[in-house]
């Protein structure tokens, strides 16, 4: 009897997690008001900031959606002027991961021209989600 209950619980749990992640993956959220946004420097991310925006992807070895995310961001960066993308190994930058409260890979941060983190998402995003996040990052006053 216990076995059947656990079986039903596992089925319901798996369905709930699948739906939650489908909703969450690639969903860009704005964490802070413009004044207390975290700011990243070219030194911290290892490349010069983009003229208009920078996409920072945190990746790890045990991460299957990281490759698809990297390909998508690289493609977006070549098509949108003034935007660059950089990939950071989460395990080699654990302090930064803790400071930015990153829990999953991939996590994508979108920085504005000054390096302020305007929005972030975890999981593999869709192209239109990335383009929408970039549009908000380069828009002044957002």
């Amino acid at each position: 009897m216990t076995g059947l209950l656990v079986l039903l619980g596992a089925l319901a749990g798996a369905a709930a997690i699948a739906l939650l992640l489908r909703w969450k993956n690639g969903r860009f959220t704005t964490a802070a008001m413009p004044d207390d946004r975290e700011r990243l420097t070219a030194d911290q991310i290892g490349v010069p900031l983009g003229e208009r925006a920078t996409m920072v992807q945190f990746s790890s070895a045990f991460c299957s959606p990281c490759r698809a995310t990297r390909v998508l961001l690289a493609d977006v960066a070549t098509k949108v002027p003034g935007v660059v993308t950089v990939e950071i190994d989460a395990e080699e930058n654990l302090q930064l991961v803790r400071d930015l409260d990153i829990m999953r890979t991939p996590t994508v941060l979108v920085l504005d021209a000054t390096g302020a983190v305007t929005t972030r998402a975890s999981g593999l995003p869709r192209r239109e989600q990335v383009l929408g996040a970039l549009a908000r990052a380069v828009e002044p006053g957002q």
């Binding site: 596992a10 798996a14 997690i17 699948a18 992640l21 070895a61 299957s64 989460a90």
Partner: protein, 146 residues
């Protein structure tokens, strides 16, 4: 265990599907000898996949011999490190379940099996690697300066 070899992602889904079926049978069949036998088989399969290699797993051999010939060559390959890590996580949960069952802690054994089943179902149905999702969370607890 970190050589970046490439594997057929459809094979991973087939392996996860067989794993899910075995674990569901452990929960559904209320006979202790059957449960012990099924869990022991699953522990052995996870151990082979985690320590020898994904393609050495009997389930993967079944995919290679029976399923893949009907599907044709894969359109793309996937890094083997995340799924191999997932097999290690599965090994941990099923080993705990097997030990619990052998020591008479049946409820604990069924719960551990249920958790492994959730991971296998997600892997088979949507290709999600639950162990990988939790990897960074665990890594964050390791001391600063590593």
């Amino acid at each position: 265990m970190s050589q970046p070899t490439q594997v057929d992602p459809r094979g991973l889904r087939v392996v996860a599907g067989i794993t899910a079926a075995v674990l569901a049978a452990v929960l559904a069949i209320p006979s202790e000898p059957v449960r012990i036998a099924l869990l022991a088989v699953q522990v052995a399969v996870f151990a082979i996949a985690a320590f020898v290699g994904l393609t050495a797993s009997p389930y993967a051999k079944f995919h290679a011999a029976v399923v893949r010939p009907r599907l044709g060559p894969p359109a793309e390959l996937e890094d083997s490190r995340p799924p191999r890590f997932a097999q290690l996580v599965g090994l941990t949960f099923t080993a705990v379940a097997l030990v619990a069952l052998l020591t008479g802690a049946t409820t604990a054994a069924l719960v551990a099996t249920g958790l492994a089943l959730v991971a296998a179902l997600l892997n088979a149905a949507v290709g999600l690697c639950l162990g990988c999702e939790l990897y960074l969370v665990l890594r964050r607890f390791t001391p600063v300066g590593t």
